[in-house]
Amino acid sequence: MEFTVSELKEYFNSVVNMIEEQKDYLCELDRKLGDGDHGVTMSIGWQAIKESLNNELLNEEDCGKVSIKVGKTFLSAVGSSVGPLYATGFMRGAKVIKNKTVLNGEDLAQFWLAFGKGVKERGQADVGDKTMIDTLEPFVNVLEEKFNDYQEFLSAFSEAVDAGEEGMKSTKDLTSKKGRSSRLGERSIGVQDPGATSAYLILNEFFNFVKSRSVQAN
């Protein structure tokens, strides 16, 4: 498989639109658990990325530089908890795709593994803390294992996203530990974590994007 830098940018643009659509839903989840701004924060961040894609990044050919810029732009625009987390994710991902204009399945797998591990390292949260790590850690584990097994990106990524979805759903039954909602204790049970939700949506958006491309390609 081949994934070009323009496709990478197109994907980021599709996240922009997806986040706009999910903004209210993400705020609603955060309203129940935290300070209610998660959708707003994600929207501010991705709108800034859109700006960047339409300007500085318009002629950028290096996938690594695109990913670095996406991470930095997001961080500058939002700060917040998710700023450093996503920025670290995209910057770690950038390392493995730098100087490349076209990515193959191996590159993509390594990109997302580095991304997920970067977030984990920055946030120091564990599975069960009711954060986006509940989505990302199972996702990373399955992606690593299945890509090793299959040596094929899309099938491995598909199963990894499913594992992420499971992880996301599991946050419903968890008590908050990290982030602004940790005070909530017992009462946080029953509501899905907003950060885990948006993380899943971003991964799933990538799956759909790549799948539709490969269908077209066939």
Binding site: R31, V40, L75, V78, G79, S80, P84, G123, S181, S182
Partner: protein, 334 residues
């Protein structure tokens, strides 16, 4: 909720813009980053720089506390969101007078990460020594056994005041941080929420609460508290808040405290003084001496309704920090 704003996405920029125009003799925006504000007055070479920051929507916290006797600069985030490392780093560079910079902020995941990243950058890229002290005064936010997980709320004011004062006295960076940490360790807050605020971008109430309900331990971004109950009289509320504080910090007869009754935004001063009245009675009954009291809106959450009570136990060093004069746009003490 109705708001006097223009485009919701511009509220922070426009607020900051208005702020620096309103107080040009106090503060100025850095050309490098509009979310970076520093004192407009000359500071002494060799003075430890005091940097505060956090999300906006808490005004006077945090930008209102830049000035003589408090902070030298502030990094301003989006509403209820930590600032990113950029404005923090710019302020750090601007206020370093060769003696390093003390970062003071509340213990929130986002702030820890962003200030942490900025501190690393200051060290690596700018060779500026940075040390941090985090406020963890909110008793309701975690059990005593997990005190280090607690969030900072109104007690941040005392931490800023203490560190700001000793930085003025000429303390070095280690000592400024030591005093800030001591102030924090001696400070406890408990809040109660009556009505929500709303983010300009969503217009949604930050939490749901019945017409006859109050929420004990509510976080100052509208995070749910530890207990929802039927609204009580001011005296009962004050008793509950002080009780939870006294259960968490040892205060003996003759001990001196500074008291802060802080309004969350829309609660009138009338009610804050009615709360204070009972707080004073309880402390008095326990032989605890009030050294100085602060009553008003010190750290808010937009138009949230409710208040918090904060006590800081004083030793002689902290007394001197309480006495020290301050001249900021939103807080002045002679």
């Amino acid at each position: 909720m109705k708001k006097l704003i223009n485009n919701p996405k511009d509220v922070v920029e426009e607020m900051v813009g208005g702020y620096v125009k309103a107080h040009p003799s106090y503060v100025k925006q850095l050309p490098e980053n509009e979310r970076s504000i520093v004192t407009a007055r000359k500071t002494r070479e060799g003075k430890v720089g005091v940097l505060i920051g956090g999300g906006s929507g808490h005004e006077p916290g945090f930008m209102g506390y830049v000035g003589e006797g408090m902070a030298d600069g502030v990094a301003i985030g989006n509403i209820f969101a930590s600032p990113s490392p950029d404005p923090i780093l710019e302020v750090t560079k601007a206020i370093d007078k060769g003696a390093g910079v003390a970062y003071l902020y509340g213990n929130y995941a986002g702030d820890v990460m962003n200030f942490g990243m900025a501190a690393e950058m200051a060290d690596l890229e700018e060779d500026i020594r940075v040390k941090a002290a985090l406020a963890t005064d909110d008793v309701a936010s975690a059990l005593k056994e997990e005190k280090e997980k607690r969030r900072g709320i109104a007690g941040e004011f005392f931490v800023f005041k203490a560190a700001g004062a000793v930085a003025d006295f000429g303390y070095n960076l280690n000592d400024v941080i030591r005093v800030a940490q001591k102030a924090n360790e001696n400070t406890r807050s408990m809040g109660v929420g009556l009505s929500p605020c709303s983010l300009p971008q969503t217009g949604e109430p930050s939490f749901d609460i019945g017409d006859d309900e109050m929420e004990i331990g509510l976080g100052h971004h509208g995070e749910p508290g530890i207990e929802k109950g039927v609204i009580e009289t001011a005296d009962k509320v004050a008793e509950r808040l002080v009780h939870d504080i006294l259960a968490d910090i040892e205060l003996n007869k003759g001990d001196k405290v500074a008291v802060l009754v802080n309004g969350l935004g829309s609660t009138p001063r009338m009610e804050l003084y009615i709360i204070f009245r009972r707080v004073e009675q309880i402390l008095n009954e326990n032989g605890i001496v009030i050294y100085r009291s602060y009553v008003g809106d010190y750290i808010t959450s937009l138009e949230m309704g409710g208040c918090s009570v904060t006590l800081m136990k004083l030793d002689e060093e902290l007394e001197r920090t309480i006495d020290h004069s301050v001249d900021c746009p939103m807080f002045v003490q002679k």
